[in-house]
Structure formats: structure tokens, C-alpha cells
Amino acid sequence: MSFNRRNFFKTMCVAGATLAVGNSFGAANSEEQTVEFQGVLYDATRCIGCLACERVCAKAHSLPEPKKVKPEVGVIRKTSENQRTAINNYNTSKGEVFVKNQCMHCNEPACAAACLTMAMYKTKEGPVVWRGDKCMGCRYCMVSCPFDVPKFEYYSANPKIEKCDMCYDRIKEGKIPACAEACPGDALTFGTRRELIEEARKRIFENPKDYENQIWGEEVAGGTGWLYLSPAPFKEVGFNTKMQNSSYPELSKGFLYTVPSVFVLVPPLLLGIHEATKRNKNTNSEENE
């Protein structure tokens, strides 16, 4: 175990490779930072619950057309493997409020951190997308997502994960998400996340009586791509207000960071104990003999 020339060169090679790789990662990051995350601002004061967004969403992603219903108070309509977005109606202290549900497109998505094949993937433009050629269907994204967004096709031999992808294909073509385009009441605004937060602040500032003084998604879960404005407290319109503001991948980061140290420290420790007990045994047996 002596530190000879060969070992020295080995160490140098590893260190060199680490530095080289580290540098290239750094370079890639600084380039990506020039693209801003995009998102959608949903203004609940403008939504009339016409469900146009649900219908165009189903059409845009070849899903079965949703049933024509009027969202009723007390009936929670959930997204499913056949429906990527759903509007719900809440009776609040400020009257009837409609709230749209879909993937929040977190800045640091738990689903993407959970995915062991990088099938759930945060694109540099902002949308979180699912890639079927990588997914192995373990459903760990569903376990991890704090918003319960990913949905799984349990009755298919070739099951997919269904969730809103912010119409990533349309965004790449320069178009805006289908729901934002179809919304007749202008409740959905597409833009960069920074612009949307400014716009939301402006609306709250100009009409403080109409809005709850909070942008849901600005801070929650480490910030989300989908931002919400509401006339009533967010607690009354179906949001989990106990949710943490730091990102969810942060929760398992500590564990993951200990892995390299365990790999470096435990084997030498075990080897050391092994060597120590071996000598003991030898001396013992010598004494016995």
C-alpha cells in the first residue's frame, strides 16, 4: 500500500480528469443560463370555467375529449392518464373561484431528480417533459412529485406517464401552449418566468382589492414555472399551503452527498479492522502453538 510512482501517476490522472470534466460542466452551465425559464401565469380572477383549455389540451395531445360538464363546487376533478389539465370550482370568501390544475413545471422538479433514467427532464426552456424512450415505468416520479402530477396508464401493456409538458413541441416551433392560446378570458399568459412575476406584481399593485397578495409558485417548492394569482386566500382554493418553500430535491441531497464519503471512508476502515484482527489472530494462534 506504499505511495509509489505508479500510484502517484494514477492519482494525478484521476485528478486531471476530474478538473477537465468539471471545467466542461461549468462551461455548459454558463451557456445555458442565457436561456430563461418560460412559464405561464394563471389569473383566477379572469377564469370563467369554460373549459376551453381542457378541450384544446386533449386535442393537442391526442387524448379523449373531456366530458362537457360545468365544474361544480365540492366536486374535485382530478387530472388523469386521459386528462392533463382540469378546472375546479371553489366556493370562497370572495365568491366562486375557478382554479386550473396541471403540471407546475418546478424550477427544480422532484420528478426529474427522482428519475433514474432522466426520462423526466427539465428542459432549458422551462417545461418539464417525459421521454418514453428512457422511462422504465418505475413510478418513482409519482411518489416524489409534491403536486401529484404524473399519471400512469395502469391498464396498458405499454404504459405511458401522462402529464402537461407545457406544449414543449409548440414552444420549440415558436408557438405558445395550446391552453394559453385558446383561453377566451385571457386568464393564461405565456412568457418568461421573470416577466410573468413582474406582470403578476403589477396586477396586484394596481388592483390590490381584487387579489390575494401572493403569487403562488414564486417561492413554493423552490419556485415553479406555472404561477397563480387568486382573488381568495390560496388555502380556500385547493392549494396545500403547508408546502415547503425550498425545493423537494433538496430533501434527498444530504443523503446523496454522503454517498461518496461513505465509499471513500468505509472500505479503508473495514480493511484496517480486518488487518488488525488478522494480526491478533496470528499472535493468538502462535501463542497457542
Binding site: A113, G137, V143, D148, M243, P249
Partner: protein, 409 residues
Amino acid sequence: MNNQVQPIAKDNDGQSIVRFVLSELKPKGKILTPFNIIAFPVIVVGIVLIVLRFMNGIGSITNLNQDTPWGLWIGFDVVTGVAFAGGAYVLTFMVYILKMDKYHSIVRVTVLNGFLAYLFYAGALLLDLGRPWNVINPIIGNSFGTSSVLFLVAWHFMLYMLAELIEFSPAIAEWLGARRARKILSGLTIGAVIFGITLSTLHQSGLGALFLMAKDKIHPLWYSEFIPIMFLVSSVFAGLSMVIFEGSISHKVFFDQISEKNHKAQTGILQGLAKICAGALFAYFFLQLLVFIHQKNWTLLNTKWGYWYLLEMLGFVLLPMFLYLYSYRTRNVFLIRLAAIVTMLGVILNRLNVTVISFKWDAPTHYYPSWMEIVVTLTVIFTEILIFRWIVNRMPVLRESPAWAKEDH
């Protein structure tokens, strides 16, 4: 001696290795044993269900839904099963690292058990994957999700299976009469043991770390940032209790294979294991208590979930701890076995509480496994036991190694 080149297979009464293996494949012993009568119908039904599952999707035979994506197959087969397989890393640590030679006679059977457990639970994992054909993706390196705890666990499963196979391989070499192979493989043991223990500490805790991101979904009595440590500590007594349980059954079923010396040593071994289990249970209980006080969970106690939690902590942690302690002092083998069973029930309860029972505890409807999920789970367990029996009846696992293997030491 060392430089003498020996054929890979020898000493098999002049048979070629292929013919020898073929002759060994035939069943030995009686076919209509009580175990077989129960196991075979279950396995047949299980195989039919597995075929149905691959034709019609996971939902066709399970009760899994959008709220509960992981059910019995993950919570019991994988998470609980791996905890029970923890005996292998604890025993190899005691025997190969700490040189506690007293336990040497049970290492091989424990490692075999561990290896088969991983093999079959990884297999059970494949049943639960919606798109199992993509399972190679995290292995071949075209998409490494290194930020995922599951990525770590998956790799550790594979590497640990390899380590355990190496640890067990001298027994295979002895069975085949391959002297040279045995020599080489025995030389790898200590490396495999050190590697295996390191991997085990990480993936035993990693199975707990899987649930760290589900903070809002698991009941606060079971969720804490210390789940990984809890899982690691409890894998020590889970694994050793399994060793006691399995050892007690093996001693009856494979009575004729065990030498007189090892029969006599058994009480001493059980006693030693009981002592270690009591210590590990105490450490675990203390940790749980610390977390409980630290998180100020008092107000949650006087609820339905609180009683359930108390049952687990008092009835299945504290009680077996005292049972182990008492039976160790009084050398009562029956009580040691009872303590092992209570501990194992407690581990099942704990793992299911974290992964299934308290998962989405506030949802309006709750998941419970379908009978078909249970049958498939039993199929996995029974098949594992059949393979275990097949190996024990052929290879020197419980019985002494052949004379030539001892000379080579």
C-alpha cells in the same frame, strides 16, 4: 502445489461437468411434501397472473392507483425483503472483518439467502416496472440519472448481487469439484466482503432515502429526515432475526446435513445473535424516541395513527428487545425464536407503514393489496425457497466442505 495446473472439474466420479450438472438438475427427495403441496398450486396461479399483468397492464391485477403508485410489491417484496436480507452483510462483517469465528458455520447459508433474496426481489421489481424493456437504460449509461436515489439503489442491488455471488462462489466450486476455481474465488472473498458491506450500508439506508421527497405524503409520525438511518439500523436486527428464523427452520428440515459440532454450537450462536439484536433494537428505539421528541409529535399520539405508531414502537420494538434480552440471559432458545418472529413482524409493519400504510394517509380512499398481488408475492417467495432448497441439497452450504477444500486452506 500452487503452480500445479489443475483441471476445472475433477473428482466427480469421472463424469463430465455437463453430465454432472444435468444429473444434479433432477429433483432429489420426496415430491409430495407439505411445502410442495402448498407451493406448487400458488406458483402456477402466480405465473398465470404474471402473464396477465404483462398482457393487460399493471392495473389489471393490482389495486395500485394514481395516488398510490407503489404498493405491496415494492413495500413488501423489495423494501422489506432487502431489510431481511441484511443478515448477510452483518454476518460477513462479524466473521470476516471482526473474525468472530463462532459464527463461521452460518455465514455460507446466510450469504446464499441474501443472494437469492436480492435476485428474487430485483425480479419482483421487474414485475412492477411499467416499461421493463427500458431497465437497461440506467445500466448501459445512455441516461444516468445520478441525482436519483433510485439510481443509487438500482446500481447497488446489481453490484451487491455480484459481491454476494463472489462470496458464495467457493461453495459452487466445491460442488463442481473445481479446485483451481475455488482457490481463485476464495481469494476474492475478503474484497467482496468489504465492497459488499459498503454497498449494504448505502442501499439499506438508500431504500429509506427513496421516501425523503415524499415529505407531504407520509404521516409525520413515520416521516423524518432520519429515515435512512432508521432503515440502516433496523436492517441489522431485521437481518439477524431472519438468520435466527431461517436457521431454526433449516436445522429441522436439513437436519442430516449439519455436523454434530455445528448442532451443538447452535445454541451459542443463537444466544450471541440475540444479544446483538437486543442492542440494535435498543439503538433503534432510542433513535425513534429522539426523533419523536425532536419533532414534537406529542399531539399526534392521541389519534388513530398515534395508536398504530405506539403499537409498532412498543409491541414490535420494545417488546422483542426485552424478549431478546431475557432469552439471552436465560438461554431460552424457544424465546429467542419467538423474539425473532416478533421482530420480523415489526420490521414488516414498519416498512409497510412508511411505504404503503401511512403513504397518502389523508387521502379519501386507501390502497390495500388485491389477492392477486399477494399471490404473486407468495409465488416469488416460494420460488426462492425452492431454489434455496435445491442448492442446499446439492452444494456444501450447511454441510461441511469436501476434504480437499479444507486442505487447500
